[in-house]
Symmetry: C5
Amino acid sequence: MRRVLAKRSKKAGLPPGTMVHLGERPAEKTRIQVFDFDKEQWQFHEMESVEDCRVFRDKSTITWINVDGLQDLALLETLGKCYGLHPLALEDILNTDQRPKTEDYGDYLYTVLRMFYYGTDAKEFVSEQISIILGKNFVITFQERAGDVLDPVRERIRNGKGRVRTSGADYLAYALIDAIVDGYFAVLEQIGESIEALEMQLLDDPSQDILREIHRLKRELLFFRKSVWPVRELISSLRRDMPNMIQKETGYYLRDVHDHSIQVIDVVETLREILSGMLDIYLSTVSNRMNSVMKVLTIIATIFIPLTFIAGVYGMNFKYMPELDWPWSYPLLWGVMIAILIGMVVYFKKKDWL
Amino acid sequence: MRRVLAKRSKKAGLPPGTMVHLGERPAEKTRIQVFDFDKEQWQFHEMESVEDCRVFRDKSTITWINVDGLQDLALLETLGKCYGLHPLALEDILNTDQRPKTEDYGDYLYTVLRMFYYGTDAKEFVSEQISIILGKNFVITFQERAGDVLDPVRERIRNGKGRVRTSGADYLAYALIDAIVDGYFAVLEQIGESIEALEMQLLDDPSQDILREIHRLKRELLFFRKSVWPVRELISSLRRDMPNMIQKETGYYLRDVHDHSIQVIDVVETLREILSGMLDIYLSTVSNRMNSVMKVLTIIATIFIPLTFIAGVYGMNFKYMPELDWPWSYPLLWGVMIAILIGMVVYFKKKDWL
Amino acid sequence: MRRVLAKRSKKAGLPPGTMVHLGERPAEKTRIQVFDFDKEQWQFHEMESVEDCRVFRDKSTITWINVDGLQDLALLETLGKCYGLHPLALEDILNTDQRPKTEDYGDYLYTVLRMFYYGTDAKEFVSEQISIILGKNFVITFQERAGDVLDPVRERIRNGKGRVRTSGADYLAYALIDAIVDGYFAVLEQIGESIEALEMQLLDDPSQDILREIHRLKRELLFFRKSVWPVRELISSLRRDMPNMIQKETGYYLRDVHDHSIQVIDVVETLREILSGMLDIYLSTVSNRMNSVMKVLTIIATIFIPLTFIAGVYGMNFKYMPELDWPWSYPLLWGVMIAILIGMVVYFKKKDWL
Amino acid sequence: MRRVLAKRSKKAGLPPGTMVHLGERPAEKTRIQVFDFDKEQWQFHEMESVEDCRVFRDKSTITWINVDGLQDLALLETLGKCYGLHPLALEDILNTDQRPKTEDYGDYLYTVLRMFYYGTDAKEFVSEQISIILGKNFVITFQERAGDVLDPVRERIRNGKGRVRTSGADYLAYALIDAIVDGYFAVLEQIGESIEALEMQLLDDPSQDILREIHRLKRELLFFRKSVWPVRELISSLRRDMPNMIQKETGYYLRDVHDHSIQVIDVVETLREILSGMLDIYLSTVSNRMNSVMKVLTIIATIFIPLTFIAGVYGMNFKYMPELDWPWSYPLLWGVMIAILIGMVVYFKKKDWL
Amino acid sequence: MRRVLAKRSKKAGLPPGTMVHLGERPAEKTRIQVFDFDKEQWQFHEMESVEDCRVFRDKSTITWINVDGLQDLALLETLGKCYGLHPLALEDILNTDQRPKTEDYGDYLYTVLRMFYYGTDAKEFVSEQISIILGKNFVITFQERAGDVLDPVRERIRNGKGRVRTSGADYLAYALIDAIVDGYFAVLEQIGESIEALEMQLLDDPSQDILREIHRLKRELLFFRKSVWPVRELISSLRRDMPNMIQKETGYYLRDVHDHSIQVIDVVETLREILSGMLDIYLSTVSNRMNSVMKVLTIIATIFIPLTFIAGVYGMNFKYMPELDWPWSYPLLWGVMIAILIGMVVYFKKKDWL
């Protein structure tokens, strides 16, 4: 079962702004990757020491610092100080069960949302919190672990395709959010396919396993929806308030990703309704099966119980049972019993049970 | 099963504004039809080469360019450049699972919605995305394939009936939307008739097939609603914002089509509730049947099991069973058994089971 | 079954504003009745020819023209031209499945809603669309057929009771709407009484018919609600916008009818919840019955099946069965069997099944 | 069953403002009680003739006129004229199924809501409409019958406790509303206790009566909610609009009673959910019982039916059945049968049915 | 069962502002603890007499007065007078079933909400009302009994960690609310773990107890939600209105706790949906069990009832039954019966019942 709630209790009572990592799995080692680019050129570094960040901060080029792994608090704190991040923002970056939201801290914009993708082997999708800090000429992203859906953006920076190299940091931030929301569609497609497969199976052979599978998918959608629902409102608040880090031109693109987020929610709701319908069909199929079982029992019992009674009667040992001595009574009785049997069958036919 | 989601994953990661066609079925060949008209006259062309578009762009007459089929990306790109369409708009035209919406790009208005109609042979309705670009003196429509619900508008252009020839491009766009929304009613009528037929059948003979049919109709409505619901908000945003492509006079007509869109949603909701009620009746009928089956079983078994026991008793082979030698015990026993039978029947009558 | 949707397809594709009658039943003959009155006097005419309308149009008295029957398109068109009605308004008058709404056309106000009443013989209520045109000094009403709930207003015009003769045309329009909304209460009362009767029957004898009746009433309410729900919003938009045809004084009265419309909706919702509760009781009663049937079966079978087995054992024909020769074995066996029977009965008593 | 709707049809068609009493039970005799007070002193009268009202109207003291019983229309009309009440207000006072609301008539404020209390003997609570007219220095209350929840207010006027004697008429009106809303809590407490008692019984012995009781309570809550829901909006509109009869200071108190009204609704909703949960438990308990009945039947039948068959085989009268003559076959058969029985019991144990 | 409603009836009819304690359990003895601090130093007192409050009121340091236990009305009244609290605020402090809310009384802000925590031994969480009065330089908290979730804040005051000593009274109030909301997470975690445990058990062994446990948890969540839901709106109204007791800087922190409150509600809703899904699984599992019981019964009965009939036939005592004398009829009959048995088994296999 996916956890609905991270272990918040670890930090209950600490002063707000205290940095405590609430993530589930310790990542390998915190890794910092830096893209630095403008129209003409781009560089890529694996940053060894956080002190290097100062270099990029003061350059006019656009810098994207990506942090994989949140367990090295000292490192994050240094980075935070370097870019002047508020303690509350740093705290939220570490609490990996944040509700998606965006907050304007004046000099920078803090956005947090969840990223979903299928790992190399996994049947279940991976869910990971990603925080995006958008400043004047830099974007910092914090992920829980290595592996993400942002490779296409990296590719575009390298190739110089699209507008990412020629636009500002806000466009880069948009491109990241767009890639994350596109990732939602991939997950929904997969879930949709599971549902289709399940539906086929439901028609063929409705076993108890299907019920569990329906509920597993329902819960996945529940979890997914909880993470995706606020994204719409996040983007729509970005569009409405247009904090000064965001240029007017980027607005068009935000409208686009806003539409996508609404569409994701539409699909989630539709899939939920389809699952509910499947549950109904499952239950009704099971109950129909039971009915046909009962019918067989009833038919057999109803036919043979009276016949057995008749046979029982002539199995009695009374001395004075005149029928026993008649020569034709045995074949006659067979006749009677066959007549009863035929009568019953006709009756059941009429009742539409056969 | 209708797909809830197109294969978006094909384009995950591409830069926004990249043109990728997400439609399901390859159309035949992209075909471009042009109507060019003013009050006095009208012309109709099958456009061979997209370069011709420039001719119409600069004329003062009203031009309606209809594109059937979206697979020829080069052609669409040329057309897009000719009329100055934004890459995001072109991308949306190609993504054929857009949520209905309208977007003001300044020089032109981009509207996308779904069109429904019954094909020549099909039992299921065809669902197709249609994009409408409304500019100063032109309307461009992009459809997924040939076949649509717009013939009446074409007819009116040819005949000069109604206001379509005497009004501006905005009225033409309205007339197209109106025709599409009218098409919704046709589909709903058909669904409504299927429901009525199903209801008749439900009263006559509630089989398992009815259940599947109810769910199929439910899903059709679900799919339909998903596409129709946003149309109301689309039209109401047109009325509210009244972008400068739309003249004041056309406002009255928009109000009319707005009412129709609300009515469509009302009918969809009502049909959904009716289907839910039918599901209840189905389930309850099935359970009532089971009850009557159980009653028959119970009555037969309850009557004959005790009688068989009695017959069994006098079939025992004990040496000392005085009843066996009495001359009247056999007819007496028959009397007792018939009395028991009558007693049971009376009891069941009283219990209202017979 | 009441139709959820009129046969709109008849007019799909016609230019907006085309007059096509969508009603279900042809009325007899279109009949036009005119009341013309001011404080001092009143006149009543059956208008023979529509050309007469000009006479009333130019008089300063208040004129109420009531049209029964919509099949005579030419007549309606002439009337429409005489009073300057917009083609869209005329189209809406003829489409008899309009959603209740009010539209301000500048010189006049177009209001459409549904009127409900019980016919002379009918078990089901009659539902009819009524359009009300309110102009400076005239009111025109269009009904689908003869028979309505407006007689009390006619009576008040004749008697001069109330404010109808002393106030303007807007008060007359209000009085008509008020009479229509009062008619809703009458229908709800009748439905409420059907529900009460059904409830009595449900307690006495829950048959399958009750289920159908519950669903019939549910559907009636569904249909009713669909027509009544928008009336609230219609009246509230009248109060909010106060088009210039409506005088300030009439505002108080609109508030009153607004309250009534909310109350109608309240009652509809309450009745719907009561019906749902009745459905629950019905289903649970049916299932309780089944339980008691099963209990009888179980008790009888559980008691007699083992006893029959015992009797069967001593009906076997083995040569060496020592019990058969003992003199007391037969009465002893009876003792054993009676003991088993008593034991079972005690067990069932304890289990609370008897 | 509580009526959802009063007999409105009595007055369908009468001009608005016509006074018709729609109450259910004729009250005894209309009784008018007057409290007249200021800071220093208070008087109490039973008013004999309505003409006396003029005396109080023109005094500067605060007057509370309480009318018990609405059947004496002439009296009410005189009173209405004396204080200048609008015909629509008088009509609403008499229609005793008003939706709670407040209306500003300029010189006075008309508020109508429902009052609930348990009568001396009744198991069901009494529900009564109360209308409150708040003028400059007077409050008039109209009740359907004698008996109310306002005694504490009367007591406070007599004692001079609290602010009621030292504040204006608006505070008196507030105090009355507050007493009525406090009465809601008393009724909810009683319903809550019934629910608790029912829950105990549900665990002990779930009979069919519990189902009926659950539905009775559900319906009571439904009825209660219908009357209480609009009270919140009533008070909140008073606070928002603050008509000029209400002084600023009273605003704090209105906020308080507003909170109470929200709390009442919260409790109603919670109780409704609890009842729904109890319904689920009831249904599931019934179905569990059925399961255990079925299990007993199955165990007994499954064990003894095969054994009876075996006994039957050796009860056959074939001449050549070699087993019959073997000396050990009888005890051997017993051995076989006991082995079968033990096998079955073990199987059922394993299946967890025993 | 947790009470949905406190015994309000105790105070029905008393004038508003009357102090009556509605709490359930008498606390030990009212205890007053005072923290008095500024940047440099802090003091802690157990206050013996309320008269001491004047000392703190007039100091420029920040004072936090915590009152445990509400039964000493005189004491509370003195304290109220000392800090100028409104009678309505004092009344609300004593009514321990307040809906969470915040009210601006000009000089101070009154906030009331519920605090949840697990006691030392308890399986159920403790729910307690806490009122927070925020003035210029003081915070007063009123709790129902000793024991709370505020120790971390006390610790931070002592240690001087975080901003609590360097900021104003508003930050202290925020810190208290934050600690309370953090406590919600702890309770939700516990409930979440109960649900997980229950889910494991549901898969292993779905007994009737699980049903009761599901409903107990549902009710706990219902109760919890009722208390938590308004907290969001409480904090959001604080942020929106920003009463003048609250400094701009504290706004950031309020945004943070606002997010937490939304998250709490999200989790509650998710847990509720999970419980509903578990209920479905439970019911369906029970019904599946019943099905498998029925199948066994049907198979056994269907096989042996006809065979028993055949044995019964040849147990009859007719004189002329030629089969009885044939030498091969007994083994032949065995052959027939075994064939029937095999036929049945094959049939059931085909029907997928075995």
